[in-house]
Amino acid sequence: MSWLAWRLFRAQGYLALLLLACFGVLAVVTGPHLADLYSRSGSASCTGDRCSELAQSFLNTAKSGFSGTVLTVGVLAVIGFPILAGVFWGAPLVSRELESGTYPVAWTQSVTRTRWLLPRLGLVLGAAAATAGLASLALTWWASPIDSAQGGRLQPGVYLARGIVPIGYALLAVALGALLGAVVRRTVPAMATTFAGVAAVMLTFSLWLRPHLIPPVHANVPLDLRDIRTFAETNGGHMEIVVNFAQKGALVLSNRTLTPEGKLFVGPADPTQCSRDLPGQRCIDWVGSLGLRQDVTYQPASRFWDLQLIETGILVVLAAAAAGLCVWWVRRRIG
């Protein structure tokens, strides 16, 4: 049976290998240049005030031109591959046999449906996991100077394209695609629902679940007005002030400016200090004298691997459930 599984998957497997090889070559050819750029920028060995400036100038160079293009392509490929694997490898696995009418051939050889499905599903799951893992490894290595300069890898567009979560998403996408293909029995609708399903899981994790996989850290520190994000005053004297969180690379869940009493600071602005006619710095200095505090909940950048492990674990469990349901469905519900 594994022979038929391989024979039917062969062309797609070779294509994936070819694309992976191109990806690897691109990384190996352009990677050293990026690493060299990083070490020459002085950002790595930097201590003191100029660090963020150095890092920013390195990032500006790295994210423009050819290396910027490589980064964009790499991120899209590593995030997109699991979805593509689900759509083009998982969804047609059962549905194409049902739709093209070849299942009577497959299911009337001297092999039960389960023994027919398991090698096919196993092969595609393995190929998807290996491809996602190697692609992510290549990008994680290639982009390590950029990630270091940024101080963290928890932003969704970075997080999803590094480490081991791409493997989890690839497994889930293929298993979900196979299940939907068996249930829907039509290839194109199965592909569409797989696409929507995997994208929905990625969004759900990024927007709602990931920040809470580990209880976030709470910090209450004196407001540091050197790095302002929002400084607004409306005509009624109402104020809104947010400063950036000092910890680089942290995933910030909430960031509020509180009064010394612990209430949300909303003004009112002192008209003798903050006015259109006066220099802005005067108003900022006045705010700085109020003893305001910054109240933040966040996931520190150091939790990258913990979060990756937990999320991947959940995805693997979901994938196993979908694969098990797919096998059950093919055995019991088709026919």
């Binding site: 049976m1 022979w3 024979r7 299942y103 009577p104 051939v105 050889q109 092999v111 039960t112 026919g335």
Partner: protein, 298 residues
């Protein structure tokens, strides 16, 4: 081994539509069975159930003494070719034989090679590029080389021209005789099967209309032709199958275990084709005509 295929109250529904309704059959082993009936009669459903591709809504089915597709051993003993002879379009003829070899413990590689050579199939040709007839032959080769005890063929000759059809069926029969397999083959063309089968099952309107050995079936049915008045009452022991009136003339097909004798009426035996048509016509009629019922005739 006594029965190739037995069913009891076998029913398959798709929503409210019954594709096969309360079908009870017992087909002895060693027969070549013609499964005939109009399109949509339930022939493919019955064969799909027997091959284990479909599951009954209710009722029971046993194939060679076991539930269909109940395990690798049972699967190995049943060969199946679905309607339109599906094959993997992207796999070559040689790939299909390799598939058969790897997936079937009883695979007869010599037989497969010989058949492919005899048919003049190019081993490297992709199945998707074969003609309909060649594809049918490839699918049949896959089923035959499996060396099954029971061969289920759904409209196997449909894609062949008349000459190829006859050769196909002759080749099939030669193989069956050599290997002592049972065969069930469906067709809506009775003439195809009359030459080769020795048992017949007529399906129409999702129900079994008639089932029995060919000799027995053709020996117990008669066509009576005569004046309407002379055919108002059926001969004793005769059971009405179907009647048609044409003006003052009436044609009646009856089933009777005893030879039928009647005055002023022409009595003749029927060929399988006419017999099947009579049963199909009966199934298609909304209700039986208020002619003498078998009960009243007794």
């Amino acid at each position: 081994m006594t029965s190739a295929l037995t069913t009891r109250g076998l029913t398959k529904r798709y929503g409210r539509h019954a594709a096969l309704d309360d079908c009870t059959l017992d087909i002895p082993a060693g027969r070549v069975v013609a499964l005939v009936g109009p399109n949509g009669a339930g022939k493919s459903t019955l064969l799909g159930l027997a091959a284990g591709l479909l599951r009954p809504t209710s009722g029971e089915i046993e194939v060679l003494g076991d539930a269909p597709a109940s395990g690798p051993d049972q699967l190995a003993r049943v060969g199946f070719v679905a309607q339109d002879s599906p094959t993997y379009a992207n796999l070559s003829v040689a790939d299909h034989l390799e598939l058969g070899r790897r997936l079937n413990p009883r695979w007869d590689a010599k037989l497969a090679q010989r058949r492919v050579a005899d048919l003049g199939l190019d081993a490297g040709q992709k199945a998707g590029r074969l003609s309909g007839g060649q594809r049918a032959q490839l699918a049949l080769t896959l089923a035959l080389a499996k060396r099954p005890d029971l061969l289920l063929l759904d409209e196997p000759a449909a894609s062949l021209d008349p000459l190829a059809r006859r050769e196909f069926l002759q080749g099939l029969m030669a193989h069956v005789v050599d290997h002592e397999a049972s065969v069930v083959l469906s067709s809506h063309l009775v003439s195809d099967l009359e030459r080769v089968c020795d048992h017949v099952v007529v399906l129409a309107g999702s129900r079994v209309q008639l089932a029995g050995d060919l000799d027995e079936v053709t020996g117990t049915h008669y066509r009576l032709t005569g004046d309407v008045r002379d055919l108002d009452d059926l001969p004793p022991g005769a059971e009405l199958v179907h009647a048609t009136d044409n003006g003052r003339h009436r044609t009646v097909v009856v089933h009777s275990a005893l030879p039928v004798v009647a005055d002023r009426v022409q009595v003749e035996q029927l060929g399988l084709e006419d017999l099947v048509l009579a049963y199909m016509a009966r199934a298609a009629a909304p209700t039986p005509r208020p002619l003498s019922s078998p009960e009243a005739a007794r």
